[in-house]
Amino acid sequence: MTPTYQPRSKDELARRVAADIHDGAYVNLGIGMPTRVANHIPPGREVILQSENGILGMGPAPAPGQEDYDLINAGKQPVTLLPGGAFFHHADSFAMMRGGHLDICVLGAFQVSATGDLANWSTGEPGAIPAVGGAMDLAIGAKQTWVMMDLLSKSGQSKVVAQCTYPLTGLACVKRIYTDLATLECSPQGLRLIDAVEGLGREALQDLIGLPLLD
């Protein structure tokens, strides 16, 4: 049967993630797709963004011509500082991340297991040059780690898996998985369904993932 549902666009997915970020939250948005969440924080909520390179209260990109190359984000793009923002050094910044002070971090992923293991730093290809950055610190440090990704890989395989086959970033660290097709919660017992796009039923979603969803 032809699917009758529409996947969430990147902005719709970002809006879905942003809808769950509470007023007053301290949040780190990972490089790539998660950065987009900042554009969709619902009006009336004050959310403070952290950047691993020593910024709290990070604001949006500056207007063209206003870039200051001493003021950049973790992806090394120019940003701004909101009134009330603060700078601190790298050891303090990672203590903030590792010490459980951030409410939420949102990361991209190659794979997430049903019990919340995360693989997002290396595809383990032979000969590839590895790079990890702050991924392992973020994954285990925040009060809640959320993943934001497409549910299926380009070849149609579920990126939510029973066991990660790519090298791990952290064990049992992901709480929620926001995807273009559904929002899932990881638990020691397995996956729970939070929501799915209109027209995608529970059975069809289970078939796509290849794993049972808990009641």
Binding site: E52, N53, G54, D70, F87, H90, A131, M136, D137
Partner: protein, 238 residues
């Protein structure tokens, strides 16, 4: 009288020996002590171990130091970038050793060195490939409060090269925005810290409430002109 203001980069770097561990500050376009890296190329020390967040961008600065064949080993968190071709080639040819470290472990291992801590347990990296030593043997682990932790050791530097914003003759430093990054923690972790500043001021001119690195951690302060950086792939605004 204490006067840590160096007359030149060459003067400040005179003591760097072959085989030294060199901590180099900077993250992206911010806080890279470019004049000091260029000075180190001129200075000639070889067989260096370099600690930096990355492994050089483009063909200047750290990339030029690598290209000159002066670095035996690099300890960093994120070597692979769109413009890290110099490191990539050396690595593939087996001409440079890489110790890949999660960025928070890099910062905390430097902090531990500066604070006299013998080693520390952290959950970062537990259960991953980076909980292995370079020879493939597992690092020591321990379960603390039900959570797996990995034992990590400090990274001591012989010399730290950092960029600050303002400094005085006692070596007190302030920084500018996110150019602070690794500077303060590297300054504490090295036996000799050399800082470039864009402005030298009289004692008492830095607000004591706002000094980030107290002068005890700094050996030499070298004034350099402000200059736009193109490191990290970004051009300076016109």
């Amino acid at each position: 009288m204490i006067d840590k203001i160096a007359s030149s980069v060459a003067d400040a770097l005179r003591g760097v020996r072959d085989g030294a561990t060199v901590l180099i500050g900077g993250f992206g376009t911010a806080g890279i002590p470019l004049e000091l890296i260029e000075g180190l190329i001129d200075q000639g020390a070889r067989d260096l171990t370099v600690v930096n967040n990355n492994a050089g961008n483009g063909d200047t600065g750290l990339a030029a130091l690598l290209q000159a064949g002066r670095v035996r080993k690099i300890i960093c968190s994120f070597p692979r970038q769109a413009d890290s071709q110099v490191f990539d080639a050396l690595y593939r040819q087996g001409r440079i050793e890489l110790e890949l470290v999660p960025q928070g472990n890099l910062a905390e291992r430097l902090r531990a060195a500066g604070a006299g801590i013998g080693a520390f347990y952290t959950p970062t990296g537990f259960g991953t490939e980076l909980a292995l030593n370079p020879d493939g043997s597992p690092k020591e682990t321990r379960v603390i409060n039900g959570r797996g932790h990995v034992l990590e050791y400090p990274i001591h530097g012989d010399v730290a090269l950092i960029q600050a914003e303002r400094g005085d003759r006692w070596g007190n430093l302030t920084y500018r925005q996110a150019a602070r990054n690794f500077g303060p923690v590297m300054a504490t972790a090295a036996r000799c810290t050399v800082a470039t500043v864009h402005e030298v001021v009289e004692l008492g001119q830095l607000d004591p409430e706002a000094i980030v690195t107290p002068g005890i951690h700094v050996s030499h302060v070298v004034p350099v002109p402000r200059r736009a950086t193109t490191a990290g792939g970004f051009k300076a605004a016109a």
